[in-house]
């Protein structure tokens, strides 16, 4: 039984840090999520947050993602979120808060990587 969610940072493409959240994430894991986002921003030109394997996120996690996006914008770095339909609760949270459109949330990691690549290349 997975007690809490996990977060990992990888680099699937040059210049892009991929922050992958799996399982359930809330106030208990938001510190680890923030840390992963900061590390990805520090080490890469662009960041993609993959929520496809996350089964639950609360507003503290949304807050951390929005903060990550704000920092990326300030530094003119690429930032994108991936969320497919495999986790309906997460998709629903993004939709009812209007963040699915605002972030925006891409339907796959590939699409999110594509969205940040031009900026990653030019940075």
């Amino acid at each position: 039984m997975q007690v809490s969610g996990e977060v990992a940072v990888s680099a699937p493409r040059e210049g892009v840090g991929l922050v992958t959240l799996t399982g359930e994430h809330d106030l208990g894991t938001v510190g680890a999520v923030r840390e992963a986002l900061e590390r990805a921003q520090a080490e890469h030109d662009a960041v993609v947050v993959d929520l496809c394997g996350a089964t639950f996120i609360d507003s503290s996690i949304l807050g951390a993602i929005l903060e990550g996006r704000r920092q990326a914008r300030e530094q003119e770095r690429g930032f994108a979120v991936a969320c497919d339909n495999s986790s309906k609760p997460v998709r629903r949270v993004l939709e009812v808060t209007g963040l699915a459109r605002e972030l925006p949330a891409h339907p796959s990691v590939e699409a999110a990587l594509e969205a940040v690549m031009p900026r990653a290349g030019s940075a």
């Binding site: 039984m1 359930e24 609360d58 503290s60 949304l62 807050g63």
Partner: protein
Amino acid sequence: MSEGATELRLGIASRAENLALVRQALAGLGDATGISAERIADLKQIATEACMNAVVHAYPDGQEGPVEVRARVDGREVSLAVRDWGVGFRPRPAGGGDHSLRLGLPLITSLADSFEVAQPRDGGTEVRARLVLTDGALDERQAPGGQAAARPAQVAVTGDAARQVIARVMAMAATRAGLSLDRMSDGVLLSDVISTHDTADFSEQRVGVEIDESRPGRLWMRVGPFVDGGAHRLVQQLELPGMDEISLAKLADRVDVEPDERGDYVVIELSGR
């Protein structure tokens, strides 16, 4: 309580890691009552947001205090109440760059069919939300009740939901206490007997379990309160030979009946060995 309603009462300490425990208990309630996965997901989201407010804002200076979650499934309606005994509701961000509370309240209002924040007379805050499962008339709002929780997580469930709720909460507590898989399965056997014990033996017919998983490698449970003689009947049931002719009571390191002002309790301890 009206006929056929199922109630869950869960008391936790205001710690971030207990939010997952709340979701497990609600998932068990959903399994037991056949609520759709979508509606249970909404309920878990609302409960998490409301509990998070209590964890972050109810008790000042990083202190811990009790948080109580009550859920009631009655026909086509689920009502949820999250109560703390802290300094009151603060729907404002805690500091710069904290978007979470600004998003938390809109989330609750978007997902719930109705929502209110109450300030109970004896202090603290109660967030109440109601979800309608299908189209239908809304019942009268439930009057608030309940009392402060102690440090261990507390669950009280009525009727048939006990088995699913307590099994999930136990499994999570055993995992967090770091018990081995063998010991976890002993815990599951014990929780099965507790949760299927005749509810008439429990006070108010609520199957109550307090679980303290904060001692590493050790799981402490207090079951009750029971009506007169009920605690001893549960112990007798645990002492009956099960599979392999070993009594379930022998699986535990300790099974004792302890009286309290609210009635007798059965205290069970499982070590990791």
